[in-house]
């Protein structure tokens, strides 16, 4: 039996239950998503954009779902103490896929800013949520297959970037999700305090979680958001997550994602960003500890002079698997994109990076840079990298580079000569290697904390944050 079958059956049997614990807005897209999912099925490695991650296999085991929204008793502060020191944040918790409204931050967000459960928001402000929910993910053109589609009109080939080729995981998430997070910033609001969201996975049995996040920044709004993923219990988790970000004219967003889960966690996260004129978005994802991770990022630049920065750092060992798949879609002129991903792979870890930059014919004066650098520390660690450029405009400056290599012999020698042990010297170099990504973090306390966490990670102390029950 193909693995999608159990999800199709689940949906057919539990359609009613899904709706009764959700809301109208989220319900409205379910059937369409179901049809899409049935058509697509779960991708295996033969699907080009899932070449390195087999979703068929990952979704095959049987997981429980909390469709009846049973309350899971948890006191997040009890288990979570690895707050970033020296940084006072607006701290929110999402337990599995439910917004934890019992613990709200001490501080209030700026006036007009809404940070709440997606389900509640959709009930309270249906029109607002309806306007954005599922729209970017649905419309996001994901021309991730490399065959150009198009037609000949009077002998002229008009390329069409595979429209409406939705992602199966996004469809699955849309049909099964019941709650998540909603962040809304009205026009010209500057949210000074960082919004920190802790995703906690907790369960007594193997659990599948379908989380949904919607972020809307109106014209000129500014925000910084930090997501931290943690897994509490020693069971198998399968998470699908769809994050949609709508950045209106002149808005600015810094979005940090930090994954510190465990080897039994499978994560499929699809992030869709739509950027309008002069908006600036920085995405920084750091995988410190995980099991099987697939992050897909789609950025649609639809307004002129928008700028996007994508940064990613991966540290993996054991049999961990991290696949980052990005697509930056330059649709209009004068946009800028920068991409930097760095991997350090040890033991039997598998890393994959596929970065695709699409510059459409209209997108003249595009500036785009893509860099992927990787360190393989053992013979059994595998790295697959695919930095792709697809360019249909001529007045552009695009370049990309990828390297796979080891630590610099000369640098190691230099340090040993000065009495630093080989182990320590290697550590320092690895640390500096990933450091480049961390240095892109604008929030100073977070940057310091990340440096600290990465160092600990390399020292083999994994993701153990002091005093944190989660990580024991």
């Amino acid at each position: 039996m193909k693995s999608e079958q159990q999800y199709i059956e689940l949906f057919e049997q539990c359609r009613q239950m899904l709706s009764s614990h959700s809301c109208e807005v989220m319900d409205s897209l379910r059937d369409e998503a179901f049809t899409t999912f049935q058509r697509l099925g779960l991708p295996n490695r033969k699907v080009e954009r899932y070449k390195y991650t087999d979703a068929q296999e990952a979704f095959a085991p049987n997981y429980g779902l909390n469709l009846n929204r049973l309350d899971i008793p948890v006191n997040p502060y009890d288990v979570f103490k690895c707050d970033v020191p020296n940084m006072s944040t607006l701290l929110y918790f999402i337990v599995n896929d439910a917004f934890h409204s019992k613990e709200l931050p001490k501080y209030q967000p700026e006036e007009g800013v809404i940070i709440t459960s997606l389900k509640d928001a959709a009930t309270r402000y249906p029109e607002l949520v309806m306007k954005y929910y599922g729209q970017i993910a649905k419309k996001a053109e994901t021309p991730l297959s490399t065959t150009p589609e198009g037609q000949y009109v009077d002998g002229e080939f008009i390329p069409m970037h595979k429209n409406n080729e939705p992602d199966a995981i996004t469809a699955l998430n849309t049909m099964l999700t019941q709650d998540g997070l909603f962040i809304y910033l009205p026009k010209n609001t500057v949210q000074d305090k960082t919004i920190q969201v802790i995703n906690i996975l907790t369960s007594k049995v193997d659990l599948m979680v379908n989380r949904r996040v919607l972020m809307v920044l109106e014209e000129g709004a500014q925000a910084k958001v930090l997501f931290c993923d943690h897994a509490m219990d020693d069971v198998n988790f399968l998470t699908t997550q769809v994050v949609e970000v709508f950045a209106a004219k002149g808005s600015s967003l810094e979005l940090y994602e930090l994954e510190e889960t465990h080897v039994k966690n499978k994560r499929f996260s699809n992030l869709y960003v739509q950027q309008h004129e002069e908006s600036k978005v920085t995405l920084n994802s750091l995988t410190l500890h995980n099991g099987y991770t697939r992050n897909m990022t789609y950025v649609g630049l639809v307004g002129e002079q928008a700028e996007v920065n994508l940064y990613g750092g991966v540290i993996a060992d054991k049999k961990q698997h991290v696949d980052n798949h990005t697509l930056v879609d330059h649709q209009v002129p004068k946009c800028i994109s920068n991409e930097l991903y760095k991997y350090v792979l040890d033991e039997e870890a598998v890393g994959a990076f596929a970065g695709r930059i699409l510059v459409r014919q209209e997108a003249q004066q595009t500036e785009s840079q893509e860099t992927n650098a990787n360190l393989c520390a053992t013979k059994t660690a595998h790295m697959y990298t695919q930095p792709m450029l697809e360019i249909y405009a001529d007045d552009v400056k695009c370049n990309h580079g990828a390297t796979v290599g080891q630590l610099n012999e000369a640098a190691l020698f230099y340090m040993r000569q000065r009495g630093i042990s080989l182990e320590e010297a290697k550590l320092l170099l690895k640390f500096a290697f990933v450091g480049e990504v961390i240095d892109k973090v604008d929030l100073e306390p977070l940057r310091d904390r990340l440096h600290y966490l990465v160092e600990k990670r390399f020292r083999g102390e994994l993701n153990k944050c002091t005093g944190c029950k989660l990580c024991k």
Partner: protein, 484 residues
Amino acid sequence: MEKTDQEKNKLVREVADRKYEYGFTTDVHTDIIDKGLNEEVIRLISARKEEPEWLLEFRLKAYRYWLTLDMPTWPHLQIPEIDYQAISYYADPTAKKKDGPKEIDPELMKTFDKLGIPLEERLALSGTAVDAVMDSVSVKTTFKETLREKGIIFCSISEAVKEHPDLVKQYLGSVVPYRDNYFAALNSAVFSDGSFVYIPKGVRCPMELSTYFRINAANTGQFERTLIVADDGAYVSYLEGCTAPMRDENQLHAAIVEIVVNEQAEVKYSTVQNWYPGDSEGKGGVYNFVTKRGHLRGADSKLSWTQVETGSAITWKYPSCVLSGDNSQAEFYSVAVTNNYQQADTGTKMIHIGKNTKSTIISKGISAGKSQNSYRGLVKVDARADGARNYSSCDSLLLSSTCGAHTFPYIDVKNDTAIVEHEATTSKISEEQLFYCNQRGIPAEEAVGLIVNGYAKDVLNKLPMEFAVEAQKLLSVSLEGSVG
């Protein structure tokens, strides 16, 4: 500025109106078998070529396997559906009319003369031996005797099957098995002629070997098969050139080139591909679907691919290297030019298996008109390939706002001692460089020519002398002035 734009537009028109200078046809009696593809046709080809039983079996196995395959859809190409039953798989321009003269038809000699490939040894450029292939048959191989004195075998593959069956049997399909891909299976079933080269141990081939491919007959496909074996310590430089007449329908060319490089041997393979690219409306042109691969079997062996791709309506070609021998070295240098409605998806595969193996990839893409030009390359480092080293650099130059340049590199590394680097840039001709040239009195057209030639220099420098001249000429004809 406006004036320069006008000038440029004029140049664009000139280039668009330019005629493909090899587009003539030869009026020669050609024996063409009926269109269609089935086991009977394969038996017929095999019978015409008087092949042994084992080769017929090889063809049939390949054909049966081909039937189970689907046309690949992964390339970044728009390939109209190909009707494999509408093509004739064998055309012999050397077939004699009854009671005809026994000599090679003078029309054929004239054709090759016109193409600049004289088949009379006394007229030939010194130092190059030529195997001239038209449609499905090798017309003549020059300097065969001179080479034989050194023990070098240089002849058409059909001849080799008859005269050196053991060698052919040993190596045919050993580098590109018929199960390799769709077009490899097709070629293995219906291949007609091509060259066979065997360089014995320790022999340095004294002259350049060259094969010139020409499609002449209409509604036929050409399925060349070339096999080059360089035994221990041997050296050979091999050149390949090709042209076709201008026809409104598309013609299919599906070739296989296999190269075996043994211990300490070195092979240089250079191609100037100039099949008919179709007219400025995108009508006609050759579909060029080629599987080329070299196997560096021995330690310290060396293989270098150099290609200048200017022709064909659609190009699907990845000259590859399997580096099995320790310390073996492979190189891939490519200039791919697409104009009008041409499409190219080309690149290489470097598969590192032996220890301390090294590979270099330099690819320069130039797109103009409404063409699509893609680089696709794989660098794979096996777990056994300690100390493997690769450097890849792919640059694309865009000469119009309606063309596309794409890069799809795949890097798979399974060894911690490997160093793999890839870099790519895409840009249009720099305004500054153009301005600088203009300012010094160099007109726009010449300036573009200068810049493009400079851009492609890294690759052109790798070509043998005669070819380099030809390639440079081709480049300038293809591109000068096509900047919009």
